[in-house]
């Protein structure tokens, strides 16, 4: 229908308006009820009650980027497969099993990619860079073992 996406806009506007109205109302009511006594220690970042140590933007695990990269590949896959899933039923009488094998090959390539990433160890959260580990070493380096120790 013509106006359907206007409805989406209405929802977004209402969500934003809800917060805006809430915060404004709170600001007005705060004159009557709310305390407002900022102090240097109150405004400092919370680190379990201690004085903050060092800067905020510390190093974090490189894994987050790897996950984001793999995610993008799969997300694009989903974007491309959704239209296929939508028209499969309608186009089937014309193209028959060609449609099915199209999809199988497409998913197969991605599954191969996933298997490659898996075999390379990039799906492990704790990745070891030494290639050949004896089984005993593998057990020793596994996170479960570390937790127990």
């Amino acid at each position: 229908m013509r106006y359907d996406y206007v409805g989406v806009l209405v929802f977004l506007v209402l969500a934003v308006g809800f917060i805006l109205a809430g915060m404004t109302a709170q600001r007005i009511v705060s004159r009557l009820l709310r305390t407002w006594r900022p102090s240097a220690s109150k405004l400092s970042p919370y680190e379990c009650g201690e004085e903050p140590v060092g800067g905020t933007y510390v190093r974090y695990n490189i894994r987050f980027y790897v996950i984001a990269l793999i995610f993008i590949v799969f997300d694009v896959e989903i974007v491309l497969l959704f239209p296929w899933a939508r028209v499969f039923q309608e186009l089937y009488p014309f193209y028959r099993s060609v449609l099915f094998w199209d999809m199988v090959i497409f998913i197969g390539i991605l599954a191969f990619g996933l298997a490659y990433v898996w075999a390379k160890g990039d799906l492990e959260w704790v990745k070891t860079f030494r290639k050949h580990l004896s089984p005993a070493e593998k057990v020793a380096r596994s996170p479960q073992k570390k937790e127990a120790a």
Binding site: Y3, F11, L33, F82, Q89, V104
Partner: protein, 413 residues
């Protein structure tokens, strides 16, 4: 536009107004109703229910005190009115409300009157913006849910695709709040939440795609309509629901969807972004008062949304478990109520399951979390998608006439 005709009949004076204006007004009222029935009060009531259930699960008392008297004495402004609780009609009503039921009202008041702190090192603009983004993402998903028979705020033809897309708005919102807080815990929590939500989006989207492939439509109302009949029975009731059709094969995508859904809304056992023992409170560590409550509201709205999507895609949405033919003769308003009742009961059931899971299961570790997503759920979801495509193909092959030309002629349904 049937809907516009209906409104013209209901409110004749709207005939003179522009179509788009009437439509926007209607959606506005619909959205307002959803916000004020499903999102805001439900958050509070779910909190109360969750704390009562937690009390049961852990053999301790949940909230059991707050009635009118404690509510009135909570605020400086209303403290003088505490005596009102002794006045007869109010006292009578108060005695009928079980203790603690007004806890969520007291919580709301407390949040409303708390001090609003923005840390000195924070990026003030992003810090303020983040709740808007998170709330917009979780609330806008409600635009396409079929809350009753053939009745959703907007009848988008890409329904479920839109839900997957718009609910991803939560990711930048969470990252924003984590980054802007200038707090290490918040930063870690934000990164964890983002990586977790995007990872689990993949099995979730693939299992929803399976249903789209079987139905041949992304429109939520069409998907519900397709679940009216099943096993060759017109108006099959329970048997028509997607989990029970296809010989129960769709149970696997359903389970994958629900596990992934729990992870997407950061609920225990997947609540690593907010792991209290490690990260204080995760990405909303620095938020306080009313600003924080929007994150909270978005979380509960998302929980309900996960239940609503599971209901619509797998459990027949607003369709009752008995054959729909039983109540067809009822007046329109009663039919609407019936549909809403079933939609709500089924969706809220999943919220209750999530609450129970929170007090039953211990938390995952981050490497276990990623292992579960990438090495278990995604392969299962992909494999089952291919299997279901094969099943669908087999079924279509059975129904098609053998001659290709005849097939082409009959294809346009």
């Amino acid at each position: 536009m049937h809907l516009l005709d209906f409104i013209h009949q209901l409110l004749p004076f709207t005939r003179d107004w522009a179509d788009w204006f009437v439509y926007v007004l209607m959606v506005f009222f619909f959205a307002f109703a959803i916000l004020n029935t499903l999102v805001a009060p439900l958050t509070g009531i779910s909190t109360y229910i969750e704390r009562r259930l937690a009390g049961r699960a852990q053999y301790r008392w949940g909230p059991n005190r707050v009635g009118f008297r404690s509510l009135l004495s909570a605020l400086p402004l209303t403290r003088g009115l505490t005596k009102l609780a002794d006045v007869q009609p109010i006292k009578f009503i108060g005695s009928k409300i079980p203790g603690g039921l007004l806890q969520f009202a007291a919580d709301g008041l407390k949040l409303f009157t708390k001090e609003d702190i923005i840390p000195s090192g924070a990026d003030s603009f992003l810090f303020r913006l983040a709740p808007y983004v998170v709330m917009a993402g979780s609330f806008a998903a409600f635009a396409v849910f079929p809350v009753s028979f053939w009745c959703s705020a907007t009848n988008l033809n890409i329904g479920i695709f839109y839900v997957i897309g718009i609910s991803s708005l939560v990711v930048p919102g969470v990252l924003m709040s984590g980054w802007a807080s200038a707090n290490k815990w918040a930063l870690y929590g934000g990164m964890r939440a983002a990586s977790q939500i995007v990872s689990y989006e993949i099995p979730v989207a693939i299992s929803l795609m399976t249903v789209v492939m079987l139905t041949g439509s992304m429109n939520m109302n069409d998907i519900v309509a397709s679940q009216l009949s099943g096993y060759g029975i017109e108006k099959a009731g329970l048997l028509g629901w997607n989990v029970f059709r296809y010989g129960g094969l769709l149970v696997v995508p359903f389970v994958v969807y629900f596990i992934g859904g729990c992870a997407e809304v950061n609920r225990t056992p997947f609540d690593l972004p907010e792991a209290e023992s490690e990260l204080v409170a995760g990405y909303h560590t620095e938020y306080s008062g009313f600003r924080w409550s929007f994150f909270f509201m978005a979380e509960y709205a998302n929980m309900f949304a996960v239940g609503a999507i599971a209901t619509t895609m797998f459990l027949g949405g607003p369709l009752p478990p008995y054959p729909a033919a039983f109540t067809e003769g009822l007046p329109m308003l009663a039919r609407f109520g019936e549909g809403f009742f079933w939609f709500f009961v089924k969706s809220y059931f999943f919220v209750l399951v999530m609450i129970h899971m929170r007090w039953t299961l211990p938390r995952y570790r981050i490497d276990q979390l990623m292992h579960l997503c990438w090495k278990v759920l995604i392969p299962i979801a992909l494999l089952w998608f291919v299997i279901m495509c094969g099943v669908k193909m087999w079924r279509m092959e059975q129904n098609l006439p053998k001659h290709p030309a005849a097939a082409a002629a009959g294809a346009h349904r």
